[in-house]
C-alpha cells in the first residue's frame, strides 16, 4: 500500500507545483493581458478557436488570401470589408503582424480616398505595437497628404518619441507645424533639432536655414498684419514701421536674422526682407 501512498503524494506534489507555476504565469502575463483583451472582438475569435494553437500561420494564410482578394480590381464593394479583414480578423490572430495594418490603410487612403478609415487601421496597429515607429509615421504621411498638418505633426511627434525611431522624424514634426501655419511652434521645433547633439551636420544645416527662413516669415507676417490694421484705422499705411509701435499695434520693430531692419515701402505698405535670399547676405 505504500506504493499507493507514494503515487498519491507524487501526484499531489506535481499538481500543486503545476498550479503554482500557472499562478506565477498569470501574474507575469498581466502586461500582455491588455493586448489580449482587445482581441476578444466578435467574429475574429471563432477563427482563432479554429486555428487550434496555430494562430500565427493562420494569420499568414488569411493575409495571403487578402492580398489575392484585393488584387482583383473588378470586385464590387471592394472596400467594404477592408477594415474588418485587416483591422479585426488578422490582428485577432496575430496582433503583432505589422504589414496588414499599413497595407489595408494604404488601400483605403489611396484607392478609396478613405483617410479616416486608413488612420483607424494605423491607430489600431500602433496601439498594439507601441514600438513600431513606422505606423504613426505612415499615419502622419497620410495626414500630410490630406493637408491636415496639425494631425500630421502630432503623428510624427508620436513616431519620433519611440525609441530607435530615426532622428529625422523630428524634422518632419517641425515641417508639418510650419505648413500648418504654426510658425512659432515650428521655429521652436527647428531649434530643438539644431541643438540636438545626435543630429549630423546636414540636419543642423537644414535646421539653421529653416529657423532663419521661418523667423523671417513670422516677422513679415506680424508686420503685414500690423500694417493692415494701421491702414484700416488711419486710412493709409504708416510712414515708418516705428509708427506701428507708437500706435500700439506692435510690441517692437523686429530685426531680421542678420540684425538688419526689414525693408518697408510706405507708398505701398509692403514689407520685405533680403534675408530670404539664398545667395544674398
Amino acid at each position: 500500500m505504500s506504493r499507493r501512498a507514494a503515487a498519491a503524494a507524487l501526484f499531489a506534489f506535481a499538481a500543486l507545483a503545476a498550479g503554482w507555476a500557472r499562478a506565477r504565469l498569470d501574474t507575469l502575463e498581466a502586461p500582455r493581458a491588455g493586448t489580449k483583451e482587445l482581441l476578444y472582438l466578435p467574429n475574429g475569435k471563432y477563427l482563432r478557436a479554429a486555428s487550434l494553437g496555430q494562430a500565427p500561420i493562420v494569420a499568414d494564410v488569411v493575409y495571403f488570401w487578402a492580398i489575392q482578394y484585393y488584387s482583383d480590381y473588378g470586385r464590387e464593394d471592394r472596400y467594404k470589408y477592408i477594415e474588418h479583414v485587416f483591422g479585426t480578423v488578422i490582428p485577432e490572430l496575430d496582433a503583432h503582424f505589422i504589414d496588414p495594418y499599413w497595407l489595408g490603410a494604404l488601400i483605403l487612403t489611396t484607392e478609396a480616398g478613405d483617410v479616416e478609415g486608413g488612420l483607424r487601421l494605423l491607430d489600431l496597429g500602433a496601439e498594439r505595437n507601441p514600438h513600431e515607429w513606422i505606423l504613426p509615421f505612415l499615419a502622419g504621411w497620410e495626414c500630410d497628404h490630406a493637408k491636415e498638418y496639425d494631425r500630421a505633426a502630432a503623428y510624427f511627434d508620436r513616431a519620433a518619441r519611440i525609441p530607435d525611431a530615426p532622428a529625422a522624424l523630428v524634422r518632419l514634426v517641425a515641417g508639418m507645424r510650419a505648413r500648418g501655419g504654426n510658425l512659432r511652434e515650428a521655429i521652436a521645433k527647428w531649434e530643438e533639432v539644431l541643438t540636438d547633439p545626435r543630429g549630423d551636420d546636414v540636419s543642423h544645416a537644414i535646421a539653421r536655414r529653416q529657423v532663419r527662413t521661418l523667423r523671417v516669415r513670422a516677422d513679415l507676417k506680424d508686420l503685414d498684419a500690423a500694417v493692415l490694421a494701421f491702414r484700416e484705422r488711419r486710412g493709409a499705411p504708416p510712414r515708418r514701421l516705428e509708427d506701428l509701435v507708437r500706435a500700439g499695434l506692435l510690441g517692437r520693430v523686429p530685426l531680421d536674422p542678420d540684425g538688419k531692419p526689414y525693408g518697408y515701402d510706405p507708398a505701398t505698405g509692403t514689407v520685405s526682407s533680403e534675408a530670404s535670399r539664398v545667395l544674398g547676405s
Binding site: 507555476a21 500557472r22 507575469l28 494569420a59
Partner: protein
C-alpha cells in the same frame, strides 16, 4: 531505474524502426524547405512566413507523433499480448508506463531537434539570427510532453481510437482556455460558474506554452516567464503520467 531505461530505449527503437515516423519527418522537412518559396507570395516581410511555417511544422508534426505513437504505446502491447511476458518480469507496472513515456519523449525530442535545426538553418540562411526562436521551440517540446502524457494515460485504459479522440480533445480545449474567461463573464454565479472555474483550473492551459507569435516578431521572452511556463508544462505532464501509472496498476488483463 534500469528497467525504465530498458523499456524507454526499446520504445525509442520501435519508433525509430517504424517507417511512418520517417514519412512524417520527411513531410515536415519538406514544409520547412518549401517555406522559402511560399515566402515569395507575400507582400512585406518574407522571413515571417519562413518562421511561422517552421514553428507550425515542428508543432503540428510533433503533435501527430505524440498522438498516434502515444495512443498505441500501451494498447498495442495489450492487443498483441506482448504485455504478458513483459509484466511477468520483475518490473513494476509503473516502471513499464514510465518507460514507455520516457521512450516517447525521446522520440519527440529527436523530432523537435531535427525539424527545429532545419528551421533555424532556414532562418539563418535568410540572414536573421535564429536564436530568438529557441525558447519558443523548447516550449513546443514541453507542450508535446503534456499531450504525450495524456496519450499514454488514455492508452492505458482504452483502445487506440478512443484514446486518440480523447487526446485531441484535450489539445483543443487546452487552446481554448481564453474562452473560459469569456464564459465566466456570461455565466451566472453559482454551480455553473464553479464548474467553469474548476474545469479551467484543471484542464491544461496550452496557450501559456505558446510563445510562437512572440518569437517570430523577435520579442524577447523574459527568463521568468519561460521558466514558469516550462515548469507548468513539466509538472502538469508529471501529474498526468503518475495518473497513468496508477490506472495501469489497477488494470486486469483477462
Amino acid at each position: 531505474m534500469k528497467a525504465i531505461a530498458a523499456v524507454a530505449l526499446n520504445t525509442f527503437r520501435e519508433a525509430i524502426r517504424d517507417r511512418v515516423l520517417y514519412l512524417i519527418l520527411a513531410v515536415a522537412l519538406v514544409v520547412v524547405g518549401g517555406s522559402r518559396f511560399v515566402a515569395m507570395l507575400t507582400v512585406g516581410s518574407e522571413i515571417k512566413i519562413v518562421k511561422d511555417l517552421g514553428l507550425a511544422a515542428i508543432s503540428l508534426f510533433g503533435l501527430l507523433i505524440a498522438v498516434f505513437v502515444g495512443v498505441s504505446l500501451v494498447s498495442k502491447e495489450i492487443e498483441r499480448r506482448t504485455v504478458y511476458t513483459l509484466l511477468a518480469q520483475p518490473v513494476a507496472r509503473w516502471q513499464f508506463v514510465a518507460g514507455k513515456y520516457a521512450g516517447l519523449l525521446l522520440v519527440l525530442a529527436s523530432n523537435v531537434l531535427v525539424v527545429g535545426s532545419a528551421v533555424l538553418a532556414a532562418v539563418a540562411v535568410m540572414g536573421e539570427p535564429p536564436w530568438v526562436l529557441v525558447p519558443a521551440i523548447a516550449l513546443i517540446l514541453v507542450e508535446l510532453a503534456v499531450v504525450a502524457a495524456f496519450a499514454v494515460l488514455f492508452s492505458s485504459f482504452t483502445n487506440p481510437i478512443l484514446a486518440a479522440v480523447g487526446t485531441v480533445a484535450v489539445y483543443v480545449t487546452g487552446h481554448l482556455s481564453w474562452s473560459f474567461d469569456l464564459l465566466k463573464k456570461r455565466v451566472a454565479a453559482g454551480l455553473a460558474r464553479s464548474l467553469c472555474d474548476g474545469l479551467h483550473a484543471v484542464l491544461p492551459n496550452l496557450d501559456r506554452l505558446d510563445l510562437k507569435a512572440e518569437a517570430v516578431h523577435g520579442a524577447a521572452i523574459p527568463a521568468g516567464t519561460f521558466a514558469a511556463a516550462a515548469a507548468y508544462g513539466a509538472f502538469y505532464a508529471l501529474a498526468v503520467v503518475v495518473l497513468a501509472c496508477v490506472v495501469f496498476e489497477r488494470r486486469e488483463f483477462a
